[in-house]
């Protein structure tokens, strides 16, 4: 919303300067977005008098002016056609900055004649586009005085209007807020009825069906005959131009002006182009209106049109139509001042993608009492500017009931607002804003004015009081708090936080990727999950909710490889979507390692990443979440996006808690990323939380003084037997003594026989009471060999 300072002062009697006004506007919630002050940068320009203008001796189109500044007489060369003797002009002297070019003016010589200054056009001062000639100042302008005092330099203020402030859609509402905040007095508005001197034969005929009557509850019209349309006076054109509107003709400009001035949109029809009665009705499906912007709109039956007996004339509350519009020759104007339903105006505007000042106002909600006084103010202005005779006002429908009473306890200002404001100040603020107050003590009855449809409850009244008193006066009080803060994170949240830190500690870089991806990629990674698409994706390749975090990580690895970083490890913690309803998302940790473990190095420790790197990441996350990895079972049953032989899942009982492995080469190819790529996905929520214990105490450490004994065994087993199974069986052979079993070699070779492999394990025995004798060690060894043979079919390798 834009307006000028002088415009504001039409409604506000104030001594306050521009800076004070803009600061107060922001303080009361009418946030100033910008101020254009045309006087800025014109401080050095002065009024001068051209005493004589002669022909330049060396140039046909240049004039040689003798210019009096009051203190000296200068010689200035000027090319403007209107540079003539006895003219008051704007003079720039050497040293000032010319606004249009931003350059400092220097003394110069033009065609061999010295020029000691420059006479300026509006364009050169950035005051307009006019550069047909130099500015001609009034004859009474005082020579030598700053031009900022002589030119009409009206600062333009732009405010960012929040959608609730329907009252501030007009300059007058803004002035009312400033007056309430103590920045002057609101001037009275002359909205007294203008007596109708003509009978009006044209009636208002409301054609809305009962269920849609709210779409246009009231329609006021008036005929003004004998008007002379034409160009608007300078002040009116200046104001409209200053806020970015185009002056059209005085009849149109009056309606434009009042929309901004009072927040009251109006429309002017050429009465000669109307047929019979006029009113609002629903558009017919497919009905067309040729609008004032030169476009034709096709309407549907939810929309309201203004129509006479012959045709739809305009899109109600949004834009008038071309055929019935006023023109230069209009002699009789029919004014429309109506009310429209904000929701229907918004819906219509969006469907037609048509934005106008009228829509803006009606969509937010125009003062429901304004239809009739709006037409009175407009009539007075038209009679003033165009002459003519006004007819009787004709009205259809009625203003909707807006009066309501809010019970208010002024003590609420302190209890909700946190600031002490005296009761008479509270009362004064509300009354200056137009609220009517009765009652006393803690039982006030407050009636909001017609223009404040946003005020509904006592909390709204508190806001009004705080806002006008100044939010910035609210003191800052720390939240009262317990002597010692509690833990912020729940155990589940702690698990997630720890997961991140553990993976970063393992050398992976955390990333955050979109929750959506191309459905083609979702299909590669969703297995049995449904495809969850968006009805209105931001782009066709972000149309599905991700069923896995991996596709985004893989394509990210591809982009990094293209940047020359083929080796890299990424991870993300976030949701995968298992369905399209609230709650059908699960929190995952996913890692992706690409290329080699490290950069090339002189010590030669580099190798391509493999499935075990991914398994290690998965186990690290599970361990960080409090799982003992001994309880995990690795099963070669990873989802289809992994390499069938180089992947697996980790199970806790029957529950899969993680999947890991090499990304299936076909999937990598589909995503156009070169391998090797290894990944893991951990289902964080499936990891059981550690059991709540009575305290943080750990079980007592039983560190034996006796030296542990290590024995190695190599078994030949069927190639399909899991090494882990051999280790587990060995471990169970003598639970009291065996504390650890490690697999230190796995070997397959022709001499072992087809389909056979050797698994070498190292078993640690920890004596409890006395050093083990050779016979005891031998006894354990026999048990291990027997157990592996029985459970895994393993033979001790010769």
């Amino acid at each position: 919303m834009k307006f000028t300072l002088s415009w504001l002062k039409d409604h506000l009697d104030t001594q306050a300067g521009l800076d004070e006004i803009t600061a107060k506007l922001t303080a009361v919630g009418l946030e100033v977005e910008g101020v254009e002050n045309p006087a800025k940068g014109l401080e050095g320009f002065i009024v001068a008098h051209v005493t004589e203008a002669k022909q330049h001796p060396n140039a046909d189109r240049l004039r040689l002016c003798t210019v009096d500044t009051g203190t000296e007489v200068l010689q200035v060369v000027c090319g403007a056609p209107n540079a003539r003797s006895d003219l008051k002009v704007v003079l720039a002297r050497p040293g000032v900055v010319i606004p249009i070019s931003g350059e400092v003016l220097k003394k110069g010589s033009i065609r061999g004649v010295e020029s000691q200054g420059m006479l300026c056009s509006y364009r050169e001062l950035k005051l307009g586009e006019d550069h047909d000639g130099i500015i001609e100042l009034p004859a009474d302008a005082k020579i030598g005085s700053p031009v900022t005092l002589v030119l009409n330099l009206d600062p333009v203020i732009e405010i960012n209007l929040t959608p609730n402030r329907v009252d501030a859609l007009g300059v007058r509402g803004i002035a009312r807020d400033l007056a309430a905040a103590g920045l002057g007095k609101l001037k009275p508005l002359n909205d007294a009825p203008v007596a109708g001197k003509l009978p009006t034969s044209r009636k208002i005929k409301m054609g809305l069906p009962a269920g849609d009557a709210h779409k246009c509850p009231q329609f006021a019209g008036r005929l003004i005959r004998g008007v002379k349309n034409g160009e608007s006076p300078r002040w009116l054109k200046d104001r409209l131009t200053a806020i970015g509107l185009r002056a059209v003709s005085v009849l149109v400009d009056v309606t434009q002006y009042l929309t901004i001035d009072l927040g009251r949109p109006l429309h002017a029809f050429d009465d000669a182009k109307l047929t019979g009665d006029i009113g609002a009705r629903l558009a017919k499906s497919g009905e067309q209106v040729a609008a004032l912007n030169g476009k034709t709109y096709t309407l549907d039956e939810t929309m309201v049109v203004i129509a006479d007996e012959a045709a739809a004339l305009g899109i109600g509350g949004i834009m008038g139509g071309e055929p019935s519009s006023v023109t230069e020759g209009t002699a009789a104007v029919f004014l429309e001042s109506a009310l429209f339903d904000p929701r229907n105006i918004g819906a219509t505007g969006r469907k037609l993608t048509l934005n106008t000042d009228a829509r803006y106002a009606f969509e937010r909600g125009v003062d429901p009492a304004s239809a009739v006084w709006g037409i009175e103010v407009a009539t007075r202005m038209i009679l003033d500017l165009c002459g003519g005779e006004a007819g009787e006002i004709v009205v259809g429908g009625a203003a909707p009931e807006y009066k309501r009473t809010i019970a208010f306890d002024p003590a609420r200002v302190k209890s909700l607002g946190g600031i002490e404001i005296a009761e008479d100040e509270t009362k004064g603020i509300l009354e200056r804003l137009g609220f009517q107050i009765s009652g006393a003590g803690s039982n006030w009855s407050v009636v909001p004015p017609s223009w404040r449809s946003d005020v509904e409850a006592w909390q709204d009244l508190v806001e009004e009081v705080l806002r006008v008193h100044g939010y910035d006066n609210i003191p800052a009080t720390p939240l009262p708090r317990a002597p010692m803060p509690k833990a912020v994170l729940s155990p589940e949240q702690r698990k997630v936080a720890f997961t991140r830190r553990v993976l970063a500690g393992r050398g992976l870089n955390e990333t955050v990727t979109w929750a959506f991806l191309p459905s083609a990629q979702a299909n590669l990674f969703r297995g049995e999950l449904p495809l969850v698409t968006l009805a209105n994706p931001i782009s066709a390749d972000l149309d599905a909710m991700r069923p896995s975090l991996l596709p985004n990580l893989i394509t990210a690895a591809g982009r990094n490889a293209a940047r020359g970083m083929a080796d890299g490890a990424l991870f993300e913690v976030g949701p995968r979507f298992e369905g399209g309803a609230p709650g059908q998302q699960v929190n995952m940790a996913a890692t992706l390692r690409a290329g080699h473990t490290t950069a090339r190095h002189w010590a030669g420790t580099r190798r391509p990443v493999d499935a075990m790197d991914a398994k290690a990441d998965a186990i690290a996350v599970l361990e960080a979440a409090g799982l003992n990895p001994i309880g995990l079972q690795a099963v070669a049953a990873a989802p289809g996006w992994y390499h069938p032989g180089l992947s697996g899942v980790l199970k806790l009982g029957n529950q899969i808690v993680a999947a890991f492995g090499v990304i299936h080469p076909r999937i990598a190819k589909a995503l156009d990323v070169d391998g090797p790529l290894v990944a893991c996905e951990v289902f964080l929520e499936r990891i059981p939380l550690p059991k709540k214990k009575a305290g943080a105490a750990r079980p007592l450490l039983k560190a034996s003084a006796l030296q542990p004994v290590e024995r190695d065994f190599a078994f030949v087993v069927d190639a399909t037997v899991a090494a882990d199974a051999v280790a587990k069986v060995a471990r169970g052979a003598e639970r009291d003594l065996i504390t650890d079993v490690g697999v230190f070699d796995v070997y397959q070779g022709v001499h072992l026989g087809e389909g056979q492999k050797s698994v070498a394990i190292s078993v640690t025995l920890q004596p409890k009471d006395a050093t083990l004798t050779d016979a005891e060690i031998e006894g354990v060894a026999r048990k291990i060999v027997a157990a592996v043979e029985k459970s895994c079919g393993g033979k001790l390798r010769a």
């Binding site: 922001t26 303080a27 919630g29 946030e31 929040t162 959608p163 609730n164 929701r343 918004g346 969006r350 209890s415 607002g417 946190g418 909390q459 709204d460 806001e463 705080l466 939010y471 609210i474 720390p478 939240l479 708090r481 912020v488 729940s490 936080a497 991140r500 970063a504 500690g505 393992r506 050398g507 992976l508 870089n509 955390e510 990333t511 955050v512 979109w514 929750a515 959506f516 009805a535 931001i538 782009s539 972000l542 985004n552 990580l553 982009r559 990094n560 940047r563 970083m565 490890a569 990424l570 976030g574 949701p575 399209g580 309803a581 609230p582 709650g583 490290t598 190095h601 002189w602 010590a603």
Partner: protein, 360 residues
């Protein structure tokens, strides 16, 4: 006579010991003196040939000699050993300028780090963390938050929707973290103090908007908390987060459907020379929106707004991370560019806490 022989022998052996150039030569000296057939060992054989009254004295002299020779041999052996080690070490050299074996350095994304910082600060004020689903329904995202029917935010233009399901419900991607306010108030009894960090979605993609971004929401509900507490709480937050102890704040009236009164908070800044600096330099930077929870919202959650009141606030996590850490472009947060992640990311062990230091 015997004395002379011993003296001579001592001289010879110690001389040879001293002259031994290496371990082999020294060993030869030892064998020649103390070996089975050695000269000192041989002296003991002479003992039996002596008259009994001389034997004792002679025996003592031989023992002394043997001790002396042994000591001399040990000393020489140690000296030779040192020299040998020195010679060996003198040959062992590496180029200490060579790079060490590479170790991958991981990092925490600025969004996670900022969320941890926020949690650390509000944790001090007694807040807990609440979360909720990314896919929401109309009730939690709009209706309960007092968005009127027909509000522009409910349009496809601003909000991502899922296709209507067979029950006629149209789910959406939450446009803010505020629906978790509703979920919290409906499942928890006041007093409530929660922060709600999370992913949010809006149909917007340009220089300063991404279709997915992160917000953190604050919610306090009890019977006493008023706007002065709101300001105090937020002021403490921005001062701690930006590390400016006396950072000034400005409260301005604003509008949100779910708060009444509503406010926006600005913090002091400077924009001189096109560079944004947080601090009390006379200019203002809008940082967050907030307000007292709207009575209709409290009502929608089954509480009486004449008894319960409190505040809500929300801010963009990327935005405050950009401001604090000087990250210029929002879109880069989601590009997974390893150079960016390593440059703007945080070390794994750099866990923010108010007592241990929020940021380095």
């Amino acid at each position: 006579m015997a004395n002379e022989k011993i003296e001579q022998l001592r001289g010879e052996i110690l001389g040879a010991c001293n002259a031994a150039a290496d371990m082999t030569a020294l060993e030869a000296v030892r064998v020649a003196a103390l070996g089975k057939k050695g000269s000192v060992t041989g002296l003991m054989k002479d003992l039996s040939a002596l008259p009994p009254e001389e034997r004792k004295a002679f025996g003592q002299q031989v023992n002394t000699l043997r001790d002396e020779v042994t000591a001399a041999l040990d000393a020489k052996k140690a000296a030779l050993g040192d020299a040998e080690l020195d010679a060996k070490l003198a040959k062992e050299r590496i180029d200490i300028s060579l790079p060490v074996r590479p170790e991958a350095k991981g990092s925490i994304h600025p969004i996670s780090q900022t969320m941890d910082e926020i949690a650390a600060i509000f944790g001090q004020m007694g807040f807990e963390i609440a979360d909720g689903p990314d896919i929401e329904d109309d009730f939690h995202n709009f209706t309960a938050l007092n968005f009127p029917p027909g509000h522009p935010a409910r349009e496809m233009h601003d909000t991502f929707f899922l296709p209507e399901n067979e029950k006629g419900e149209r789910y959406l991607l939450r446009t803010h973290t505020s629906p978790v306010q509703i979920r919290t108030m409906m499942s928890q009894k006041p007093p409530i103090r929660v922060i709600i960090p999370g992913r949010t979605y809006r149909c917007d993609y340009d220089m300063t908007h991404t279709p997915m971004f992160h917000q953190v929401e604050l919610l306090v509900i009890d019977t006493e908390t008023n706007m002065s507490h709101l300001r105090g709480c937020l002021q403490e937050f921005v001062r701690t987060y930006f590390g400016v102890d006396d950072l000034t704040t400005r409260f301005r009236p604003s509008f949100f459907p779910f708060t009444e009164p509503s406010a926006e908070m600005d913090i002091g800044c400077s924009r001189k020379g096109g560079e944004l600096k947080i601090g009390n330099h006379g200019d203002w930077l809008e940082i967050l929106g907030c307000g007292m929870v709207h009575p209709n919202v409290i009502k929608a959650c089954g509480l009486d707004p004449n008894i319960y009141q409190g505040f809500a606030a929300g801010m963009g996590i990327e935005r405050i991370a950009m401001l604090k850490y000087g990250i210029p472009d929002l879109r880069t947060f989601f590009e997974s560019d390893l150079r960016w992640l390593r440059h703007y990311g945080f070390a794994a062990l750099d866990v923010p806490s108010v007592t241990g230091g929020l940021s380095r």
